[in-house]
Assembly symmetry: D2
Homo-oligomer: 306 residues x 4
């Protein structure tokens, strides 16, 4: 297929209450690599198999949550065309100068009606510790911690998610791979700009701008088990798992960083093609959709967000 | 990203010498589902997780090999635009009427300079036994045999593969995820129209139109081991594996169908994005590129094709 | 080590309310092989990797539960010496004639103070579908359902478990691999006659003779995941899992047969040697001991028994 | 069963040509823990899940190979009874004083007719970094390198292996779980003192006292794959694998330490009970017995020993 436009999730900036504890969590336990610390104290991290300079940004703050979720686009000129499309859709576009994050080019952004900052950027430096390119080994240094392969997606909670879905489809060329329709409307939607079952997802929630989780991709179900072992061994606060989602089919475990932000590590999930039908869930089997083994919802999973 | 143009491999028509033996192999051992037999005796098969009516076509013939490898495109109008682009590139386009295969719309094709028939089509019926869509379980019937998820790609052998790569890149919007450059030129190229490390691959070979293997995607390394157990238990002729490729990183085992056509089942492999560099192998580490554990080539793997 | 005396769990006779439903469950879903039906209607089943004629016996009854749990001893003469040792310990021994179960030699038994019938036998016919012996393949027919390797152990609930532990240690040469000591005494004990972390286990419970679960051994954590998929797909009533036990370290999922008897399928667990210390859990970490990931008990797991 | 006599392999003393290279290999790559270095320069290592002070002993020497392979017995008095039984069998017993290895009690030994030193000991200190006992986590520090669970067994090459088998069975209460009988006699035998498929194995070879490999137990097939990745990444000399043995059914990969001593890491294998028949292989399927997937022998595997 023609590989154009929005390529993939690239940056997730997370607010943490205690940077030292956050670094231990994301580096030693989750297993990200430390890239650097900026002059404003923000800490930049990446997964071992990512080419780009960084993907996770930690910012010390008084309140936890997610500042912004940004997608990389294929070409600098895409920023201009998406700016026009976003404006044509009726949303306001803001600009972030190149260098606001070290190694990252200019970004454009908009606040979507669920209350989240969604940004696009085209340029980012290649990481010093990028995956090998010439006669490449699988990795240079052994993956550590939970051995995450990449930052994969985020799930955001907020109001107006029908509008949000429409915006992602019409202005950014995403598709809906899977959704939950209740008698009173759309409860949740899994949106993809690629062949992954989701690159971003939204759940209907009264309070705007809330962060449910950022997710890291693992190799397989064995790696989900290994992550589970680490979570208990190091007394990381677990939410739910290891289990499987009916939706996306991913195998998964959820836990919290020391600031209360939820993380997921997951594996698997189907490959989505645009010729595939959108998978649909309704109220009769919603529990199975969310947690395929438990077949019931976990109150904390539905209500605790940052 | 905008999901347009050539989406994915869709059809692989294989010549078999003994249809009964081929059916036992592909259905009972590899684990495809039987879809139907056409009036001309061709047998249609699919993997359990494919929506489309069929992906593998078996044709009884006096000589084994691959008749054609076809990609599904996003929209019927894409067939017209690709026809023009192929002609503009300088190749001849042939047409296959809708219904030549049951349930498949019209196809266009060209014979590329490696001697292979490559086709495009936009329409195919949804399979009766498609993956569930509403409140979907993982599967309806337990996957059987080697439990392949989908027909994934083919590797073809022939001359002029620099030209072939250029054609796929310029006329069909593929990208080269990985390649082997020897002092005397391109030995092999892995081409993708998606974010898979390869949707089709070519190796330089003096004789045109040769078929190295068709590959089926498995869940993980455990499934590769399970396939290996089946191969020995049922005296299926093994080529090499279980092992891993340095190139694409896939874990894999190769074996032959009763007609001598090579099959692969594999798992894993990295996700390729167009912002990624093309991975490059040279003569110093070629063995490791092909078989990461053995670090040496297997004469049979290089020379036996159908 | 000298391999003498009580070798391993061999027979578990389970009461079921609906034999047809039980057969579907244990054969099609759990994946045992059907061996035969006796003249009294009892149904005999085995796991694919067991040499002995059968291991699970289903008996139609008005109340679910476990009739008896029997261990195979090394030699017929062991039955005499254990009879003497049991009597010397102060318990009554009953006798069951050879042939009471088809293919099984004479058994001796005793009702232990937790209220359970524990039996010993030395002779049982080799199964018709035993694992191959000469130039053996891994299996003859592909394992099906959850692909259990063997009936592995049972967990029984009842009073007086300190006495029960003492009896198993002194009269039957078992050892305690792991136990839970609460301020008011022994809550649970895992007893082994081999190098497995447990061949039988007991939990303190006011009502005598209760059956918590019979457990089947799987290959690995991947197989636990596969069993979990089957459980949801076929609407089998799940108790808890997939998870891991801190105690024994086994990875596991629990579910119920259609009569309400609990089953476990599990994998892993440490190898226990008699020079190893007995692992000890106390009230501060009991939740983690039972369910390593959840770190908390599940009321149903503690109270629902048959 | 009564757990008496010879319990399990406990010590393997390996001669290495370059201690620094050996330490990097066994500690950083294989993943053993460093325990200490003795006054005579010997280096003591252990796997993370072993309670005993050490299991692998490295000794700098001019020639690689294995000095001795020792089994732990249940009680000090067993040393006296086994001394008598070995003498009664007609072999000479030698004595090694307590403290010859730090933390290890007195040992008795004999040189068996294959030319190997086989020893027994009853006492060894518990390791400082032993597996946790009270409210035990799975591990204290994350397993590293290939993550071996324990030193598991050795395969030794030498003459007179029928006699050796007889000695192990009659004097030490081992059993033969599996063997290869060729028209000219016993080629190989897998002997167990437990329920493992092998605690030691012998292959007929003209030269006495040769060392084929020491083997470390891994969690599962995924861990065998991980070990394979490490072997290639760090340019460790591989012999064969990842593959599976027909004999014992273990999944495996073989490689060499920097001194040319062969190592194995493996997973799986059946549980052997004394009521099981001895599995038998003959010349018609020997290739499959040794390497289940390749179904053919590897000259290096048969002839390269230290």
């Amino acid at each position: 297929m023609a590989i154009t436009g929005v390529l993939r999730p690239g940056l997730c900036q997370i607010r943490v209450l205690d940077m030292a504890a956050a670094k231990t969590h994301y580096i030693d336990r989750v297993g990200l690599d430390f890239v650097g610390e900026g002059p404003d104290g923000r800490v930049y991290l990446k997964a071992y198999d990512e080419f780009d300079r960084h993907s996770i940004v930690l910012r010390q703050a008084d309140e936890s949550g997610c500042d912004l979720f940004a997608f990389r686009v294929a070409r600098p000129s895409d920023l201009d065309s998406f700016e026009q499309r976003i404006k044509d859709y009726g949303y306001t576009v803001y600009h972030v100068e190149a260098g606001e994050m070290p190694g990252v080019g200019r970004r454009i952004g908009t606040v979507i009606p669920s209350g989240h900052r969604i940004e696009l950027y085209a340029e980012i430096e290649m990481a010093d510790r990028h995956p090998p390119i010439t006669n490449p080994d699988l990795w240079t240094d052994e993956p550590h911690g939970m051995r995450p392969i990449r930052m994969d997606h985020a799930l955001l909670y907020g109001p107006n998610i029908e509008e949000v879905q429409d915006f992602f489809e019409k202005a950014l060329d995403f598709r809906c791979a899977e959704k939950v329709m209740l008698p009173d409307g759309l409860l949740a939607t899994w949106l993809t700009c690629s062949t992954k079952a989701h690159d971003i997802a939204f759940v209907k929630h009264p309070e705007p701008g809330k962060f449910h989780h950022v997710s890291f991709f693992l190799e397989d179900w064995n790696a989900v088990g290994w992550a589970s072992d680490i979570i208990t061994r190091y007394n990381i606060s677990r939410d739910i798992g290891p289990t499987r989602h009916g939706i996306t089919r991913g195998t998964t475990i959820y836990f919290f960083d020391p600031s209360g932000n939820r993380n997921e590590v997951f594996a698997g999930g189907y490959t989505y093609y645009p010729t595939d039908p959108t998978r649909m869930w309704d109220e009769t089997e919603l529990g199975k959709g969310i947690f395929y083994y438990e077949q019931q919802l976990n109150e904390r999973f539905l209500t605790v967000v940052t």
